[in-house]
């Protein structure tokens, strides 16, 4: 009765069959019953019937048994699978530990690829994927006006258009207008300019955000004649108001006027377009500047508008409504004709220009990762060759091929995960530097973090990369013939297909590297062109500082003039500061003021069209300080004040475009900037062109007017002096405080430094792509080296024979280098057309060169050729030193 293991062994050989087991077991039961009945004296046939009767429904029981058996089988499989996996894992770790050189190189290669991808992805995630930090951010849109005929886009709204939209919209649940500048806070320590956003009453409704303390601005605050209220940002509240919990209700002085603090907004609340860590919000009607623009609407599009879509309205439906509103507005407000209202998701507007460069970088790192994968695949193929004996032995001993493939893939995924972990380390390390990719406003709104999503991305990417890199090697390892491998020595028993795969991979690396290098080369070339642009002014030794006069205290233009005159007199009194001026706005550093103008005596333009030029108000020394050259006529003098006829100096671009073959001197231009109305001014001079908006955009028409005839509430002081920034800054501050000790002097910088910062973004993306292309080049070089060097070691015998037959070392060297050249040419043949096809997508990021720039392509090809040569040189030298006798004897 002891169980006999014989059956069990039989069972194992054919594999488990739970259904047959159940049948056998039940049949045994019935037969045992029959045996017993016969012993009790039953006839065999009667005994069978009785036994079956006693058992009842055999089928039903059998059915239950089969189902339970299947379930058990499945469970057994699963547990076997896991125990196999643990075994694989152990084996893999042992094998990797045995080849530390290989492991380190493979892990580092993965780390570079995964690290670069994780880093760039963290920025993409922060800026493009993560939603804006507001309630239901998908419903927020930006409303802007554009003027198709002059290709102006994204302009703000004018006051009448905004009120029209606010009062009659069918698609928005709330609409808010906002405009930003700085007000002077006094009475709380040092006077300071605080970033201020003037908002319409619905502003906080649009964002549906609760205050940290007190209340937000309400509809009543927005009424004309209401008490002036202000909401502080949490950071401002902490730094300037000592985080006073009873701040609500107390009063603060802004531009010499009293405001009552309504509440405090939490640090998590960001204002689109005007985000600052320390800032405040006031009702638009209470703003000393913008408040005036709502009563006496000047013809400027100055207000940014954000709206919340009603829940049942899509962006496209809102867009359709905007299109129908525009003509109606134009008939109501003639100055609106030619302008078209439009709406776009807020997120897209906020991140607008960052998108193309992020996508470019993402593409570049993806290519780097592909190169890394190709490199590792090559390494694995080489390793598989040296391991072919081990694998053949295991197959011969009965391991099935699927198990071996699984085990090899386990090994690869360990490499991938180790590399991924190192890559995450790299990404973490480079994270802080990466914020430079974003403009300061975006940086705060979009903190770059290694959050769970980014980490998940890194892990999935490492698994995918290790799988990709491992496919070909596993394929060749499993396909090889074990008998052949065992018979031949290691190294020789290698399928020719595997060598071909290796060459293909190296050529692919070259091709991918071409694309990355061309991209980096194009950015580098356009950046060098960008910084080589002559801006039209000379900024060496120029220091700039901004002074803004509080408008309640300095309410009248005469006061602004008096202040500017006083300040200039004080500065000019020092011989080493004689070269100083006041002006606004400064080229490139400040936003441009574009105004429509009319040439007196010309026929009127068609309705809805206008000629425009950028406007600058400047004191007479401005042109001298900035090195802007006079071409014709004269510059301003001290005599051009408000008692004299109004004059204007125009730029060459304006003269050329609007006075072709005419003498502009003596002609009249009619234009005006707030608070002045339209004034007719005589053209007295023509000066050289200046890049007013940015280095990258072409110089446009400019109109300069004397500060004394068109003063502003403060301006930018520019001083050319050899004294050094700190000394000049002190002098400006001293002179300013001698006039009014409560005036803040801000944004003091050397002009070249400020200009340099204006190209920080293109410089950084060039640098990043440069780093990635360096990695790509290095990996491609390693790839070529690996293939050529392995092929040399495999062909030692062949080389020996050749040398024995009289081949010179130079010839052997040519043979090896030729192999590398073949890879190079193949790579270039694929890479260059691919790069040509891809670089057009980066044309918006280029400046001054075409995406097909032949010089860049040529340099990249030569560079890769040099690298291929260098990579082949070491193995070639080794081939030349092959001793024919040793090589022939070794087998």
């Amino acid at each position: 009765m002891r169980p006999n293991r014989l059956w069990r062994r039989y069972d194992r050989l054919t594999g488990a069959d739970p259904a047959a087991d159940v049948k056998d077991e039940l049949r045994f039961h019935v037969e045992a019953t029959i045996d017993d009945l016969i012993v009790q004296g039953w006839e065999p046939e009667a005994a069978r019937q009785e036994a079956e009767r006693r058992f009842g429904d055999v089928r039903a029981v059998q059915h239950i048994g089969e189902r339970m058996g299947e379930k058990m089988e499945r469970r057994k499989h699963l547990s076997e699978y896991w125990s196999d996996w643990v075994q694989d894992l152990r084996y893999a770790v042992r094998m990797l530990a045995k080849a530390p050189g290989f492991t380190v190189v493979a892990v580092l290669t993965f780390a570079l690829g995964i690290g670069a991808n994780t880093t760039i992805f963290s920025v993409v995630n922060a800026v493009l994927l993560r939603p804006l930090p507001y309630t239901n951010p998908g419903r927020l849109v930006s409303v802007a006006e554009s003027r198709p005929e002059t290709s102006i886009t994204g302009a703000g709204l004018s006051w009448p258009v905004f009120t029209e939209l606010q009062d009659h919209t069918q698609v928005f649940s709330a609409v808010a207008g906002l405009a930003g500048h700085a007000l002077t806070l006094t009475g709380r320590g040092e006077p300071a300019d605080i970033s201020t956003v003037a908002v319409t009453p619905d502003f906080f409704t649009v964002f549906a955000t609760k205050p940290l303390l007190g209340r937000v601005l309400l509809a009543d605050d927005g009424k004309r004649g209401a008490a002036a209220a202000v909401v502080l940002s949490e950071n401002l509240w902490r730094s300037r108001f000592g985080a006073d919990p009873n701040i609500a209700g107390s009063s603060v002085t802004l531009d010499q006027r009293t405001y009552t603090v309504a509440g405090v907004m939490p640090v998590s609340f960001h204002t689109p377009f005007f985000d600052q860590t320390e800032q405040m919000w006031i009702p638009l009607v209470q703003d000393p500047l913008f408040g005036g623009w709502t009563t006496r609407p000047p013809q400027v599009h100055w207000m940014a508008v954000i709206a919340r879509l009603r829940t049942d309205v899509s962006v496209s439906k809102a867009q359709a409504e905007m299109r129908t509103i525009s003509p109606a507005l134009a008939s109501q407000f003639p100055e609106e004709s030619g302008w078209v209202l439009g709406t776009e998701p807020l997120q897209r507007v906020v991140v607008g220009n960052v998108r193309p460069q992020l996508l470019l970088l993402l593409g570049a790192v993806a290519l780097v990762l592909l190169i890394a994968c190709a490199n590792i695949a090559n390494l694995l193929l080489t390793r598989a060759t040296s391991r072919s004996k081990e694998i053949a032995l295991r197959i011969a001993l009965g391991a099935n091929k699927r198990r071996i493939a699984r085990q090899l893939l386990t090994e690869n995924s360990i490499l991938g995960l180790l590399g991924g972990a190192a890559g995450i380390g790299l990404a973490w390390w480079s994270m802080s530097a990466l914020a430079l990719l974003l403009a300061p406003g975006l940086r705060q709104n979009y903190p770059i973090r290694l959050d769970g999503f980014v980490l998940g991305f890194a892990v999935v990417l490492s698994m995918a990369a290790s799988l990709l890199a491992g496919l070909a090697p596993v394929f060749y390892a499993v396909r090889s013939n074990p008998q052949q491998s065992l018979r031949e020595g290691a190294g020789a028993g290698e399928a020719r297909g595997s060598q071909r795969a290796r060459s293909f991979l190296a050529a692919a690396e070259v091709a991918l590297a071409v694309i990355v290098l061309v991209g980096a080369g194009l950015l580098l070339r356009s950046f060098s062109r960008l910084i080589a642009v002559s801006p039209g002014f000379e900024t060496d030794h120029v220091v700039k500082a901004e002074i803004s006069l509080p408008r309640f205290q300095y309410a009248k233009p005469e006061q602004w003039n008096a202040f500017a005159n006083d300040l200039m007199m004080r500065l000019h009194a020092r011989p080493d500061l004689r070269n100083s001026a006041i002006a606004a706005p400064l080229p490139i550093l400040d936003g441009a003021i574009t105004l429509p103008f009319v040439i007196s005596g010309n026929p009127p333009l068609a309705q809805g069209t206008a000629d425009t030029a950028n406007y600058v108000t400047a004191s007479p020394q401005y042109f001298g300080v900035m090195g802007i050259s006079l071409m014709r006529g004269r510059l301003f003098t001290e005599d051009d004040d408000d008692s004299m006829p109004p004059v204007v100096v125009i730029s060459q671009a304006l003269a050329k475009r609007y006075f072709p073959n005419q003498d502009p001197l003596g002609r009249q231009l009619i234009f005006g900037f707030t608070p002045q109305g339209h004034i007719s001014r005589q053209i007295v001079g023509v000066v050289g062109d200046v890049h007013d908006v940015s280095l990258a955009s072409k110089p446009g028409p400019m109109m300069y007017v004397p500060f004394a005839q068109a003063p502003l509430w403060g301006g930018e002081v520019v001083v050319r002096s050899r004294l050094g920034t700190a000394v000049v800054a002190d002098a400006i501050r001293t002179a300013t405080h001698a006039i009014d000790k409560d005036l803040p002097v801000t944004e003091i910088e050397s002009f070249p430094g400020a200009l340099d910062a204006s190209v920080a973004e293109p410089r950084f993306r060039t640098l990043l792509l440069g780093v990635f292309s360096g990695i790509a080049l290095l990996l491609a070089a390693i790839g070529i080296y690996g293939v050529v060097s392995f092929s040399v070691s495999r062909r030692t015998r062949e080389i020996g024979v050749r040398m024995a037959l009289g081949a010179s070392p130079a010839r052997v060297m040519r043979l090896v280098i030729g192999e590398s050249a073949k890879l190079l040419l193949l790579g270039l043949a694929v890479g260059i057309p691919a790069a040509l096809a891809l670089t057009r997508f980066m044309s918006t990021l280029l400046f001054g060169i075409a995406p097909t720039d032949p010089l860049t392509f040529g340099v990249v090809a030569v560079l890769l050729a040099l690298v291929a040569l260098a990579a082949a040189y070491v193995p070639a030298r080794r081939a030349m030193r092959v001793d024919p006798m040793v090589a022939l004897r070794c087998e």
Binding site: P3, N4, R8, D24, E25, L26, F28, H29, V61
Partner: protein, 119 residues
Amino acid sequence: MDKNRLDLFRGTLDVLILKALIWGPLHGYSITDLIRRQSDEVLLVEEGTLYPALWRLETKGLLTAEWGLSENNRKAKFYQLSAKGRRQLRQEMQTWDAYATAVAKVLGATQPPLPEDIG
């Protein structure tokens, strides 16, 4: 004989099977045989419930099974108690004892219980 036959209470069969196997490995037929004889022909285990119960216990890991040869040289599936099964048996026997004692006390009572809160 049929009138003496008792239906097995739900859950009782499992503990009977475990107990039957305490003497050594058995196949399904001898398990019914053992239970029948040990209960003086009172407890008859139906095949339709016995085998599913055996398989369930096997799935739970309380029994292990092995193919072997029966007394008359037929291929039969032998069941054996696992360590886990042994533990389970001990526990269920205690539960059963407590249950049986309680039932016996109620059924054997000769007078109603004393009122609980005299004080």
